[in-house]
């Protein structure tokens, strides 16, 4: 159990090559749950491998509880990692798999037995301890992988590299619940790498959104949802994505021409490409003349909600309405968005307005 600090960390796979991970500074407190969220190839696995010690960063340091572990080998860092593909030692039983990290560290047999039994009990693997691990289903194999991490009492953090990707949806839910319970019970620092925002938003207290090797924003799920720092975050987080409409400065207000959407402009506004964004969840259908009028071109059914696709000036605006909306495809509708829900982006970055 440890606090993890990434100090001026950066990585390039070859000297002179472009950064796979741009310089960053992060602190993960002990016992927290974190998610690294981003599209494939954004550098999240690189960051995870640096923390676990499988990769040595080209710049900066990794600190566990203030101790510099940058040069330490994986085995002595006391990290547990669960991979995307369930990894089990196929020649061993479930019990032998769970005990393997302790066997490698030369723990006495009685202690190994006790730890394996405790962990198996906790993960619900106790009835199958003597079964060959290779015969298990993918989700159970993933539990065994996790168990190999938990079996060490001094484990500093558990790194989860897209561990739920190959699991069936129903079991995914169970496994996520188990992970959460484990975190609460053992107060283990857990870092989940994923490209699935639902997974990240439901699992982590804090989410690190990455893109092109750069940490774009770090914050709680609510922060990311309400106040995305960049257009990319607004687009990546939330389903459907945030709506963005081209805006321009008119006198002292930023407006979307042809609509009533407008925000007071800050005193000194640099030149650049302006956009106004709002969440589909924050827009409502308005019976009277609203902020924006368009034609419904598509309706997506989403259980208790409906998402309306509304075409306006060659843009498609999405609005989430609860229940069944009275609007029909082809019908003209008017929507309203509260001014405090509007975000302004200048060249892709959010403007902090008063």
């Amino acid at each position: 159990m440890a606090e993890i600090v990434l100090e001026r960390l950066a990585h390039a796979y070859a000297p002179g090559a472009p950064y796979a991970l741009k310089p960053l500074q992060l602190t993960w407190r002990n016992g927290g749950t974190y998610a690294l969220l981003g599209p494939s190839g954004c550098g999240k696995s690189t960051m995870l491998n640096i923390i676990s010690g499988l990769l040595r960063p080209s710049e900066g340091r990794v600190l566990f509880d203030g101790r510099d572990v940058t040069a330490l080998d994986t085995g002595v860092r006391n990290i547990a990692q669960v991979f995307q593909v369930p990894v089990i030692y196929k020649s061993m039983t479930v019990g032998e798999n769970l005990g393997f990290p302790l066997v490698c560290r030369g723990a006495p047999a009685a202690k190994i037995k006790a730890r394996v039994e405790a962990v198996a009990e906790r993960l619900g693997l106790a009835p199958i301890l003597s079964k060959p691990a290779n015969a298990l289903t993918a989700d159970l194999k993933q539990l065994v992988s996790l168990g190999r991490g938990l079996v060490r009492e001094d484990v500093a953090a558990i790194l989860l590299d897209e561990p739920l990707t190959v699991i069936d949806p129903q079991l995914k839910f169970d496994l996520r619940r188990i992970l959460k319970e484990i975190n609460e019970e053992f107060r283990l620092t857990m870092v989940l790498v994923t490209h699935d925002q639902t997974e990240a938003l439901t699992f982590a207290e804090e989410i690190v959104v990455m893109n092109h090797g750069e940490v774009v924003q770090m914050g709680s799920p609510t922060e990311l949802f309400e106040r995305p720092e960049t257009e990319h975050v607004g687009w990546f987080i939330g389903s459907p994505a945030m709506n963005f409409l081209p805006a321009l400065l008119e006198k002292d207000r930023i407006i979307v021409p042809g609509t009533d959407l407008s925000v007071a402009a800050p005193a000194a506004l640099p030149q650049g490409n302006l956009k106004i964004g709002f969440r589909p969840e924050h827009a409502t259908l308005s019976p009277m003349a609203g902020d924006l009028e368009g034609k419904v071109t598509r309706i997506w059914f989403e259980g208790a909600d409906e998402v309306l696709g509304i075409d306006w000036n060659a843009h498609r605006v999405k609005v989430r309405v609860s229940g069944t909306s009275p609007a029909r495809i082809g019908e003209a509708v008017s929507i309203a968005v509260p001014t405090n829900r509007l975000c302004v982006f200048l060249d892709g970055r959010r403007l902090h307005l008063g």
Binding site: V87, S91, C104
Partner: protein
């Protein structure tokens, strides 16, 4: 339903009958005849050939010798091949060069290489004995002493076929997923434990495949013996197929050699099936 499928299968079936079934059935028939150089033809002598074979100590000795040669050389090939494959598996300097170098023996013709090896082993003219003497080891009667001749055959076999093992096992190693090795590192396993707990179990299936292919091939060992020692001195390096060759092609006892071949075929089929089952049970852990 779909009766016409047989029409499409017919050409294939005909070829199969012509090249596999017919020679086999013909051999069975010949083995019950006394066809030889004096009385060629298909007469019927019942099981006489098989009774003679049962008493033929030279045949059974050759079979036991072959078993020893096969098991010993294939074990050596597997061990050496695996070691070489592990050596060039990871990033080392000139990895491509070594990979090609190790394959050269396999690409040479067995007969040609046996001739070269016979020259190397030659007691007075070959280079091997002077080299041994230069490093302080006495010259050895490589091809005229029973034990050394057997060793010479084994050396050539191992030299020629280790690359095949190397190739298959290297392909196997390269196809292994990386995650188990990362997991083993994280779990704190050292190189030996990683090899025993991760590499070897994952290589089980391909190992069995490679070993079986080599066992089947090695059990037909003939041209190396023919060129290197001609089965000698005496019958010290005679293998089953070489003995059958002597009876059939040199003595022209066609009927008798047919019965030898058939017995050999049955013994090999049964033995290799049992070995395959045992190997799979021992080495392949993928079964669920």
């Amino acid at each position: 339903m779909y009766r016409q499928k047989y029409i499409f299968l017919l050409p294939g079936l005909l070829v199969l009958v012509a090249i596999i079934l017919f020679p086999l059935l013909f051999t069975i028939r010949v083995s019950f005849s006394s066809w030889d150089v004096y009385n060629p033809g298909l007469n019927w002598i019942g099981g006489e050939n098989y009774a003679r074979l049962w008493e033929d100590a030279r045949y059974w000795e050759a079979l036991i010798r072959l078993t020893f040669l096969t098991v010993a050389t294939v074990t050596l090939q597997y061990t050496l091949g695996f070691a070489l494959a592990l050596l060039v598996w990871r990033d080392i300097a000139a990895r491509r060069f070594f990979r090609v170098l190790f394959l050269v023996p396999m690409m040479t013709t067995p007969v040609v290489m046996s001739v070269i090896w016979r020259t190397i082993f030659h007691e007075s003219l070959g280079p091997l004995n002077p080299i041994l003497e230069a490093i302080g080891i006495d010259a050895q009667p490589w091809l005229s002493d029973a034990g050394f001749a057997l060793a010479a055959v084994m050396i050539v076999e191992v030299w020629q076929w280790t690359p095949f093992m190397f190739l298959l096992l290297l392909a196997g190693l390269l196809s292994l997923p990386n995650e188990p090795f990362l997991a083993a590192r994280i779990d704190g396993a050292g190189p030996i434990r990683t090899f025993l707990s991760v590499t070897l179990p994952m290589m089980g299936a391909i190992s069995v495949g490679a070993i079986l292919i080599r066992l089947i091939e090695a059990s037909k060992l003939m041209e190396t013996v023919y060129v290197l020692t001609s089965g000698g001195p005496g019958t010290a390096t005679e293998t089953t197929s070489y003995y059958i060759y002597i009876r059939g092609m040199r003595d022209f006892q066609i009927g008798y050699s047919a019965s030898l071949s058939l017995t050999y075929l049955i013994v090999m089929s049964v033995a290799l099936t049992l070995i395959a089952k045992a190997l799979i049970r021992l080495m392949v852990k993928d079964r669920t």
